[in-house]
């Protein structure tokens, strides 16, 4: 579904990503784990077209997407839930979700897509008339993911979905993401805390200083001494 191959990314004159390669197959849940500043967000932003790679290629559903505009990439079927949620504060919760059904009209009815977003995060239904600033961090996170889902994407990119959330709300967000995997969408999650990596993760990549140092099954990551030192696996 998504293939990132040998991508080098520079921000001004600093090289942030060095030959990053990763694959996400259909219906897969892939986690990209790394410490803060290791290049996780940069990788996702490169996929979304905010940054263009100096070398390498990004392909989505067999088509090269590097160098394309962000909104075109979104319309191809990549839903993006950024780390800071990116909720539009002048719009209500309902409008935030509905807008994605207008920008990417599909075969499926808009009402069905909106209903699905609410099914995944039932808590949002209660806040439908609220605006962005009237929501908690966890609710904003759920809305951000629900909105990306309403785009009816083939794949979702979730940037640190558990970052900064109270432990009380993490299960609700986690359950929502689990429900999305049940809908047959591929998911790529960037995560800095290895303990937040969901059990249903099919593949794990570890990124350190802009390089992928591990790629494989989550169980194998624990056995890799270099990986466990970096991501703090020993505490488990």
């Amino acid at each position: 579904m998504l293939s990132v191959a040998g991508v080098d990314v520079f921000i001004q004159s600093s090289q942030i990503l060095r030959g990053v390669s990763l694959e996400v197959g259909a219906r897969e849940v892939v986690c990209l784990v790394g410490r803060n500043g290791s290049g996780k967000t940069t990788t996702l932003r490169t996929v979304m077209g905010y940054l263009s790679p100096r070398a390498g290629a990004v392909e989505f559903r067999g088509r090269p997407i590097h160098g394309r505009r962000t909104h075109e990439i979104a319309r191809l079927g990549l839903g993006w839930a950024p780390e800071d949620c990116g909720i539009f504060s002048d719009l209500t919760v309902a409008e935030n979700i509905e807008i994605a059904t207008w920008t990417r009209p599909r075969g499926r009815a808009a009402a069905e897509r909106v209903a699905q977003a609410y099914e995944v995060f039932p808590a949002l239904r209660r806040y439908a008339a609220r605006r962005g600033p009237e929501m908690s961090g966890g609710e904003r996170k759920m809305l951000s993911i629900a909105r990306a889902l309403a785009l009816d994407p083939e794949m979702l990119l979730l940037d640190e979905p558990f970052e900064g959330l109270s432990p009380a709300i993490i299960p609700a967000v986690s359950a929502g993401i689990a429900a999305i995997t049940g809908l047959g969408r591929a998911i790529l999650i960037a995560e800095s805390n290895i303990h937040h990596v969901p059990d249903y993760t099919t593949r794990l990549y570890v990124i350190e200083r802009g390089e992928i140092i591990f790629g494989g099954r989550p169980d194998d990551a624990w056995r890799d001494p270099g990986v466990s030192r970096i991501i703090g696996g020993r505490s488990r």
Partner: protein, 318 residues
Amino acid sequence: MKGGLAVALGAGAIAAAPLVASTYHVLLMLPFMAYAVVLLGLNLLFGYAGLVSFGHALFIGLGAYTGAFLTTHAKIRSLEVILLAAAALGALVAVPVAALCVRYVKIYFGMLTLAFGMVFYTFVLKFYRLTGGDEGLPFLRPSLLGQSLDAMPKTDYLVGPYYYYSLAVLGLAALGMWRIVHSPFGLCLKTIRDNPAKAETLGIGVTRHRFYAFVISAVYAAVGGALLGPPTGNVDPTLAYWTHSGNIVFMTLLGGFTSFFGPVVGAFVFIYLQNWVMSVVPYWRLIFGAMLAVIVILAPDGLMGFVTRRRPALAGRT
């Protein structure tokens, strides 16, 4: 619900004004209605898309000169034709201007629109044969709905048929704009104003939406500009001068760009206040400058801000 009642009352008051108010004040309503049309469009760009144009006098001037040219040179008097021609010409000129301007934001956008406005101003001033230069062009009395009203005394024409014609145009313009800002397109503009980078991740083409908003606002400005002509019977280059662009931005700020009808209220207050202050002291610009400073510092949501700010508290109580 309460908002709908206020709009109905406002429209009723405007409709009743010729019956109760003095002719003088009724005549002042004509530029108000013309500016209201301009500002409904300008606010799509300013309030909804977050782009401040300092060059919309270009389109006001374009609309006004279209009417003047058609009535004097082309012998076309029908106001319907004039308004349609103004709208079409406004859109035609807006397409290349918008295509260049919407690539930029903030001050760069503002300066570029200002530059195009001044290019048009110079064109109007220098192409004497076409535009009459600094003397301007007469805007002959247009016929309304196919009725030539040349026999009527001028004041009767203006406070009667022309007044209600302007009101009808304003009503249609407001209805159209209401539909636009409450459509998915309007919501997309709001998301772009909020955060263009995030709007893109929802598949919204930011530049394209800004382009459409610009062209629609230009069409509104041209139609409003054409309505400005008949009351004075003459159009001159000051209509296209950059201070005129500044005035309409002022009206928008005065009424409040965060509300749909804010700019309309701003136009009303601006015109009557300007008229009153000018009659009291010769330094009306000084006073208006001070007012602008006060608005920006103390009431960034304009006059409508006082109405809407209290609303959440009221809603919470009920």
